[in-house]
Symmetry: C2
Subunit: 372 residues, 2 copies
């Protein structure tokens, strides 16, 4: 049975503290303190009342698939005829990535790190070897090393914009990764979940390049604040690969509830909601950058997302010790860097909290540091 990932361990201790009456501030989970827009909920309820409470086609309901085609066109390489056949709606990104790995059965997964811990857990669950491809803060989390030893059928896993660092890989890095994959005839699993939450610069999607063996993962959880709806989607430039993915997804789990999907279809028509959410993520991130900087944390300022990956300004403890002491002493939960690769010196802060809570969190952290 698999080991408890550090991420889960922190959540568990936090819950125990709460059970004993402590007011824990959660900066360890990737769920924003925002409400889902009522128009999205209304659309879901309308669909359920109209009878969309039965099994739906596993690929997804038509209105959602059709809108996703339009939504993703900006990413797809020019001249490519993107259609519904390139897309599969998924019940979240986690099981989508799991399904992709069950389908592809790589010999090795090359993980560009830091990377949220999912691939590490999946690789251990499936008995697949992980090859760590670390990037460093000193390089602005840009990929400076070569990826060696990739063979046919292997997987290169990339999260861009990055979770936990919030940085965006340069077009050059994306090209290099792609060329490595192409030479080896390997697959790229591209977690591009934060594509809608970019505040500076722009990203290069793996879908915009000329390579078929790509599965790119997206979700409505963060951009539209719909984590509970369990709706994500996968895009592949290859209709065959998308279709094989669909068949495997159908075998393992099937799709999300049809009414959830109608909610998601509505969301894609509400660009004001996306804009409002983006502003919230950006402002809370900006405020967090300032507070952490004042306290002497070392990090690269994120260009995207809802996280800051930072080295605490304390000599006597590493990120793991910092995490558990901060949790115990000040009831602020963060995610230790070891959950994202070999980064014992780091912690990840989720910054998408309501402003009063965010302020309180950083006040507690300040107090914690002043006691050292």
């Amino acid at each position: 049975m698999s080991q408890e990932p550090p991420h889960y361990r922190v959540s568990r201790i936090a819950k125990e503290l709460e059970a004993s009456g402590r007011d824990v501030i959660h900066m360890e989970i990737g769920d924003p303190e925002l409400d889902t827009d009522p128009r999205i909920v209304d659309a879901m309820c309308r669909a359920a009342r109209e009878g969309h409470t039965h099994y739906a086609p596993t690929r997804g309901v038509k209105p959602l698939l059709e809108r996703l085609v339009g939504y993703m066109e900006r990413f797809i390489k020019p001249g490519f005829d993107l259609s519904i056949d390139n897309i599969v709606v998924t019940p979240g990104s986690k099981v989508a990535i799991y399904t992709a790995l069950r389908l592809l059965r790589p010999r090795k997964i090359f993980v560009v790190e830091p990377m949220w811990g999912l691939y590490h857990s999946f690789a251990s669950e499936m008995g697949i070897e992980i090859v760590h491809i670390p990037t460093r803060m000193e390089d602005g989390w840009e990929l400076r090393t070569e990826i060696n030893g990739v063979e046919k059928g292997d997987v290169i896993a990339v999260v861009n914009p990055n979770n936990p660092t919030g940085t965006i890989l340069s077009r050059e890095s994306i090209s290099n990764i792609l060329e490595t994959a192409r030479e080896a005839d390997a697959y790229i699993l591209a977690d591009e979940v934060y594509f809608d939450l970019i505040y500076r610069g722009s990203m290069t999607s793996f879908l915009s390049m000329d390579y078929d063996r790509v599965l790119a993962f997206y979700t409505f959880s963060k951009n539209f604040v719909m984590s509970g709806f369990r709706v994500g989607w996968v895009v592949s430039p290859s209709k065959d690969l998308a279709n094989n993915f669909l068949n495997r997804l159908r075998l393992i789990v099937g799709g999300p509830p049809p009414f959830s999907q109608y909610g998601a279809a509505e969301a894609l028509t509400l660009m004001d909601v996306l804009e409002k959410n983006r502003r919230f993520y950006m402002e809370t991130l900006q405020y967090s950058v300032e507070r952490l900087r004042e306290m002497g944390f070392r990090f690269v300022e994120p260009s995207a997302g809802m996280y800051i990956f930072a080295e605490p300004p304390v000599e006597e403890m590493n990120g793991v010790e910092f995490t558990y002491r901060l949790l115990e002493e000040e009831a602020v939960a963060v995610a230790p860097g070891t959950g994202f690769g070999d980064y014992p010196g780091y912690v990840r802060f989720t910054t998408s909290l309501r402003m009063e809570r965010l302020e309180e969190a950083f006040n507690r952290i300040e107090r914690f540091l002043e006691r050292r």
Copy 2:
């Protein structure tokens, strides 16, 4: 890549016929032609409006878990202290069974057949050996053979009440299976999804026996007509086994949407809905029994569920040929017996169609047979 199961193949051909304008009657899928009760939909919408649109605890939301404890108490062996810790809410039974197999990693799965094709597909996906334990119509689908060769950690898979036959295993058969498992220290995966749809006699749940290594699977899909909600649940007499299952489920997929779960919690308070649905299932099944009997189909009259597993009264073709010719000539889709084990002579009829459609379906089948 896995082979297309016969079940999916029929659905695909049926869809192609529909695309060409044919009016296909679907007797191959397990989804009733009933509406979800509006009070269930309302409860779901209320929960979503109240903010239950974020991540929920993977085990399930509290009100649902608490009501499930009460709902399942009738099944649990006398004196056993059933609690929330014995239960895990799942996003459907399919992924729940998949997750159980990933957790247990048996050397062999002993499948009491006929059995819907899921275990066969999963075993092939995971490279696990299947041992077929056939039962025969002549024995009333009762288990007459011994299950030999079971070793520690293996899985015995049983669906009771049975899909596809609608028969219920005797208490003696359940005891025998359980003793075989106990002697070998093996696991029992008990699909008891049709527990709420029994019309004659009663069933013995594996939860009512004195054995810990049991995972029993249930869902709201059929009894409460909520297949699109994607809510099921697992019960184990062992809190440890339930907990290991929970951790594996969290790793692979997580739980269903929280608002779906609130809908399910409401359903458990609506026994009039269950009664109404049961009556529908029973009446459509009864009507189907009469029609199929008149035409000379051979089968054991079901005591539960929504299916009839029958031998067509035709000499010149087996169940598979019958399936595809009936689909082509009369646009009635059924499931060939080969999807449930080595039963080439049989087909499965789903009988939970609206009465007019059911009548039309059997008229078409009559016409089909008259042409032979």
